[in-house]
Every structure is written in C-alpha cells, then in structure tokens.
C-alpha cells in the first residue's frame, strides 16, 4: 500500500463542494480524506449523526453526498448503520442485490463520545461490517461550543467558561479509542492531519476494507471553537502529535501498535499556546495548570507506550 500524495488527492471528490461547512473546518477535511480510502468504483452508504456536518451538507433540497447517505438523529448513527448493513446482508442473501457496498458513518465527539455512545457500543460489539469515524473537535460545536467528554482539561467552552472561580473544564477528556478497543473489534485507530495525510489515508483504507467493525478517531480542529488562526490547522495537528497530546496508534485484533514516536517530545505549551480556548493558562499565576496538563499528557503517553509494549 504505497502512498502517493498526488494520486490520492486527485481521486474524485465524494463530498461535493458547495456545502455550508466553515472555511478551514477540520470535519470536512476528515470526511473528504476518509472517503479517499474507498477504492474507485466501490459503492458506499454513508451515515451521519446530527451535527455541523449533517446540517451543512444535506440542506433540503440539496445534498453534497455523491454516495447514498443517511442521517437519522443525534445519538444513533451506530444503530442506524447497523440496520443499513443488516438490510445489505438480507438483500444479498435473498438474491436481490449483486453489488458490493461499504458502510461508513461520521459523528462528531458529541454524537460519539456522549449521546451516541450506547448506540456506538452496540454496533461495535455486534461487529457489523462498518467503519465508525469520529471527527473529534473536542466540544459540541454545532450548538455553540459546549463542553463534551472529549473536551480537554481547562478548555474554555460556553458551559465551562473561564471565570473568577473557574479555570475552564475541570475534568480530563475521555479516552474513547481505548473504550472502543476494549470492545475487541478488528480495527481501531487514532489519527489526524499530518504527514501529507498518509497516516489518515492508510488507516481509512484499512478500516474500510477490514471485515467487521472498525473505529477511527480523528482529531479534527474547529477554528471557531479552538480559536486559532484558521490557515494554521496543519501546524496545530502537527503540534498535537509532536507534544504526544494526540498520539497516532492502531489496535489491530487487540494488539496495540504505536505508529509514530516524536524524536523529541515537545512541551504541551506548544500545542496550547496558539489556541484561544487555553489563553487563560498562560496568565501569570496559572503555571500550575500547565504543569497539571503536562502531567496528564505524560501519564497517558506512558500508558500508551506500555500498551504498545514499548
């Protein structure tokens, strides 16, 4: 599976331009690049939890989706695609469909980590032949930047606002990739936009073409919610990986594999500084918060190294 950047980027778009997502939205970048993992000519049904992606790409009477697409509600992208995949199996068995289809569903962290967790867990445990892709931007962005269980500690959100008695979100983020890996499904991976999209592309293709359930967790920055300079998205993602805030790994048939280890782990400040949601951490007197954040990143990184037998 040699990766050719130019060839991959020149594949026909399966999410047509003209949709209403924000300029520089990480969610859109995630979707377009995951769909590049589909082999040309292969058919797919795309699912979608309610969120920015849904309301901006399928506003009646227009759709941006070249493939068949279904949005049902906020919390049930997993079970909805379970039904679509079940229909596929039944129609194949009964000889009413000859073509091969792949099933991919997208949800933000709200629809995936939180309200849709039960439905996702069920779909994964039943091992439907589908890929669940979480485009994780770490808050409920569609409703206006409220905290989710994917929101990092100390982030300033509209339901964890920074104030005289508050330093932002008090809790650590949930490690959803580990939660899903514990479902013992064939393929789990975490990735983001780095290395000319090579990591994302390879993982998408693997996830789509691995029989059974697969889960991709993609860090997909939101310029509105994170408050960084919009064109800097690739740099933000690079810093997320180089600080070990967002490690790149896979869990294949239960085996943990670290895909990238920075030569020199950068301090977490490098990832936090460009983001307005962490501005308060750099005020005098808040040094202990940065220390605590670093400690948490280190703890999780060590845990990951242990899991990957490093």
């Amino acid at each position: 599976m040699a990766y050719n950047f130019k060839e991959t980027m020149n594949k026909p778009e399966r999410l047509a331009p003209g949709h209403r997502m924000c300029a520089g939205c990480g969610g859109t970048i995630a979707v377009r690049n995951v769909l590049r993992g589909l082999h040309e000519g292969d058919k797919a049904v795309i699912g979608n939890a309610t969120g920015c992606l849904e309301v901006s790409t399928f506003t009646y009477p227009y759709t941006s989706w070249q493939d068949s697409y279904i949005h049902n509600a906020f919390e049930n992208a997993g079970s909805t695609l379970s039904g679509v995949e079940g229909a596929y199996k039944a129609l194949k068995r009964k000889g009413r469909l000859n073509e091969t289809y792949k099933f991919i569903t997208f949800g933000g962290d709200g629809g995936t980590y939180d309200i849709g967790l039960q439905s996702l867990s069920g779909a994964m445990e039943r091992n439907h032949d589908m890929v669940y892709v979480c485009y994780d931007n770490g808050a409920y962005m569609n409703t206006g930047i409220q905290r989710s269980s994917a929101t990092p500690m100390y982030a300033d959100t509209t339901t964890t606002p920074v104030g005289s008695q508050s330093s932002g979100k008090p809790q650590n983020r949930k490690d959803l990739a580990s939660v899903i890996a514990a479902h013992d499904i064939p393929y789990v991976a975490q990735t983001t936009f780095v290395q000319n999209f090579k990591d994302l592309h390879i993982k998408s293709e693997k996830a789509i073409y691995t029989p059974g359930a697969a889960f991709l967790n993609i860090m997909a920055p939101c310029p509105r919610g994170w408050r960084y300079n919009t064109p800097d998205i690739m740099e933000i993602c690079r810093l997320g990986v180089e600080t070990c805030y967002w490690p790149l790994f896979e869990v294949i048939e239960g085996k943990w594999i670290l895909n990238y280890e920075p030569k020199q782990k950068l301090p977490i400040e490098d990832f936090l500084r460009p983001q307005g949601r962490f501005k308060h951490l750099f005020k005098k007197g808040n040094e202990h918060l940065l220390e605590a954040f670093q400690k948490e990143v280190d703890r999780r990184w060590d845990e990951l190294l242990f899991r990957c037998s490093r």
Partner: protein, 393 residues
C-alpha cells in the same frame, strides 16, 4: 386452506411474521412483547426464515436500525411495549417523516410509573400524533390478521407510512385462544415482494435520507405526511376487502356490534370489547337496545364514519384505557367528542377512564356502564363527562 391452531397473541403475531419472512428485524426485549422476537429468533436459528435478526442494545436502537434498514430498501419491523415505545419516541417521528413503510408489533402495556407490566393503552396513545398508522385488535385472531395486512397498507404507494399493530398486553398477548391461520403460500402471495421506489442500496441511483429542512420546506413535508394519512383509510378498506376474499374474515375501520338499532353505545379499543359484547348480549336478551363501536383503525381517525354509525344513538360512553391529563378526559374521548360535534350530534356523551395498569374489566362493569347511560337519557343530562370506572373506594 386454513389451519386451526391454539396460540397466544404473541405466538400468533410471530407466526404471521414467519409467514411474511421480512428482511430485517432488530429487537430489544420488554415485557409483554418479548416473546415475539424470541419466537422469531428461533425461526432464524432453525432456518425457517432468512431474515436478518439484529439483537440490538435498546429500543431506541431497534427503531433506529429498523429505519436504517427500511431506508436501505428492506422490509423491516420491530416489536416493543410501554417504556420501549416511549424510548423510541423521537425515532417514531423520524420514521414517519421519512415516509418509511416499516411495521411495529406493539403489545400495549402501561407506562411507568409506578412501573407496571400490565395492559393499558398509555404507550400507544402517547404515540398517536407521531404520524404512524395505528391498528388495534380485540383478540389473537385479529392481531394475526392485522399483522398480515400491515405491510400491504403501509407500503401502498398512496400511503408510505409506518404502521403500528397493537394488541393488549397479557390479555391477548399471553392468553391462548383458538385461531385460524392461513397457509404460508397464501400469506406470501398476499403480502407480495417489497419493491421500494427509492432506497439507499439502489445501485442505479444513490439517494440521501434525513435532510435538514427549515422554514422553507418543513411545512410542505408535514403536509405531505398528512396526505399519506388521508389516503390510508381507503387503503385499509381495500386491503381488508382483499383479505376477506382470502380468509373469509371481514374487517373495516371499526366493528359495529348490535349497533344498528341501539339507543345506547359504548366506544372502545381493544380486548375489553369482548367483555362488552357479553354484556350487550345479556342486556339484549332483556330487550335493551345497546351496542358497541370497537375501533380498529385509530390513526388515521375515521371521524365521519364513526359519527355516522352513532347518529341514532341517544347516549354514548367513550371508554379510554389511558389518561390524558387534560382534566377533561382521555384521548379517544377527545377524538370521538370532536367527531360528534362536527357531525352536529345531539347525543349525550361521557368519557370513562378504565382498566389502567391492567385493572380488570368485568361483564358486570360494562352492564353498569349501560345502566349509567340509561340514567343519562332519563335525566337528559350527560352528568360528569369525565369519569373513572373500577377504582378502589
């Protein structure tokens, strides 16, 4: 060739589903409907159907998966009761607004709380405005027959709406009765193959389902749904007519029992109609002119036909097996009273709440109802138009 058997209501519905052999059946257990997916799972396990059975992790997911399957081009259904239906509430509306012809075998049970596993209609009455066709059964035979007619109605090109086939929890779902079953081949040719117009797994033409639609199109979408509902009455009658040709059993929008010359009538839904018929037979022997209008089709609500059937009646008791908490009656009461008002009826009418949480209904109770109607006529006064029957004193 009909086959005679003895089956519970749940077995009868499961048997109908085996004969229909649907494409996808996602399900989650809840008393008293649990047996339906349970029997069905054994059909799957023994190769009697080639349905994709998906044992999901909740009722919200069973309806979500049924919606996904139906949108994908499959004939899909699920089964549930009570809180399971309440948990699906959001999805009921989505199924209807997507114009998906899927079915739900509902075994009526009281909603919590207090938690109660017995029959009343509070679950399906809560879903009466969700855009689903609702059909009710008095006994096991009707539950079986309605299930067989379900997909023909909901898949009809003029309707394209989901359908709820309701029967009373335990009273019919668990009671074993004599029943007449159709042959498998008869059922399969009657129900026919499902051929959707547009669906996700159509290789010729991809489609998008479940749009975001605001002020510019939402209202038209809702009006279109209402149009499907408007057509459903005639389709229900046409399908019933065809079914009568096959089975010899006749169905309409409702059943009028000894109503023709009645001066007093009870209007009700479900299994208590059987008890009421016994009360009517007893009173008729004494020369009393009493009758029953038993609702079969509740959504859409055949208001005009009901008012017409009640036009010569002097006093009516509308019996609700669900509270409405409007402080002036239950849901059936509101619908029937509105129908009578529009037809300029001068009948005296009262609304009686009964049988909540499985509270028993005896023949004597129904005789008393007819006696109370007689009092209303004598006094030319409906009295309290919102009453309870069978409460502990």
């Amino acid at each position: 060739m009909a086959r005679r058997d003895r089956l519970s209501g749940n077995e009868a519905v499961a048997e109908a589903l085996r004969q229909i052999n649907p494409d996808v059946f996602p399900a989650f257990p809840i008393t008293p409907s649990t047996e339906i997916p349970q029997y069905f799972a054994s059909f799957v396990a023994n190769g009697k159907v080639d349905t994709e059975f998906i044992p999901v992790e909740s009722e919200h997911s069973s309806m979500s998966a049924a919606i996904g399957a139906s949108a994908a081009g499959a004939r899909a259904l699920t089964a549930t009761s009570s809180c399971g239906l309440a948990f699906m509430w959001e999805e009921l509306y989505i199924a209807a607004s997507n114009r998906l012809p899927l079915a739900l075998a509902l075994v009526n049970r009281a909603l919590s709380g207090p938690i109660n596993i017995n029959c009343d209609h509070s679950d399906s009455m809560g879903a009466r405005d969700s855009g689903w066709i609702q059909m009710y059964a008095e006994n096991n035979q009707e539950a079986y027959d309605n299930m067989i007619q379900a997909f023909r109605i909901s898949e009809h090109k003029d309707v394209k709406l989901p359908i709820m086939i309701c029967q009373d929890g335990f009273i019919t779902s668990h009671a074993v009765e004599n029943i007449e079953l159709l042959e498998d081949e008869e059922v399969r040719s009657f129900v026919g193959e499902y051929k959707p117009e547009n669906y996700l797994l159509n290789p010729e033409c991809p489609m998008s389902v479940g749009p975001y639609s605001v002020t510019d199109y939402y209202m038209e979408a809702k009006r279109n749904q209402a149009e499907g509902m408007k057509h459903a009455q005639q389709v229900v009658l046409d399908v019933a007519n065809e079914f009568a040709g096959l089975s010899g059993r006749k169905y309409g929008l409702f059943e009028a029992y000894r109503l023709e010359d009645a001066d007093r009538a009870v209007v009700m839904i479900g299994s208590a109609a059987g008890t009421t018929k016994d009360a009517i037979d007893r009173l008729r022997e004494k020369g009393e002119k009493v009758g029953l209008l038993k609702i079969r089709l509740y959504r859409p609500f055949p208001a005009e036909a009901i008012a017409e059937a009640l036009k010569n009646v002097k006093a009516i008791a509308i019996m609700d097996r669900a509270e409405g908490y409007s402080d002036h009656g239950g849901p059936l009461g509101a619908d029937v009273m509105a129908a009578l008002f529009r037809a300029k009826s001068t009948a005296l009418a009262t609304n009686i709440i009964y049988g909540l949480g499985g509270r028993d209904v005896r023949v004597e109770d129904m005789e008393q109802v007819f006696k109370d109607l007689q009092t209303m006529i004598v006094q030319n006064d409906a009295g309290d138009t919102y009453r309870y029957m069978g409460l502990r004193e």
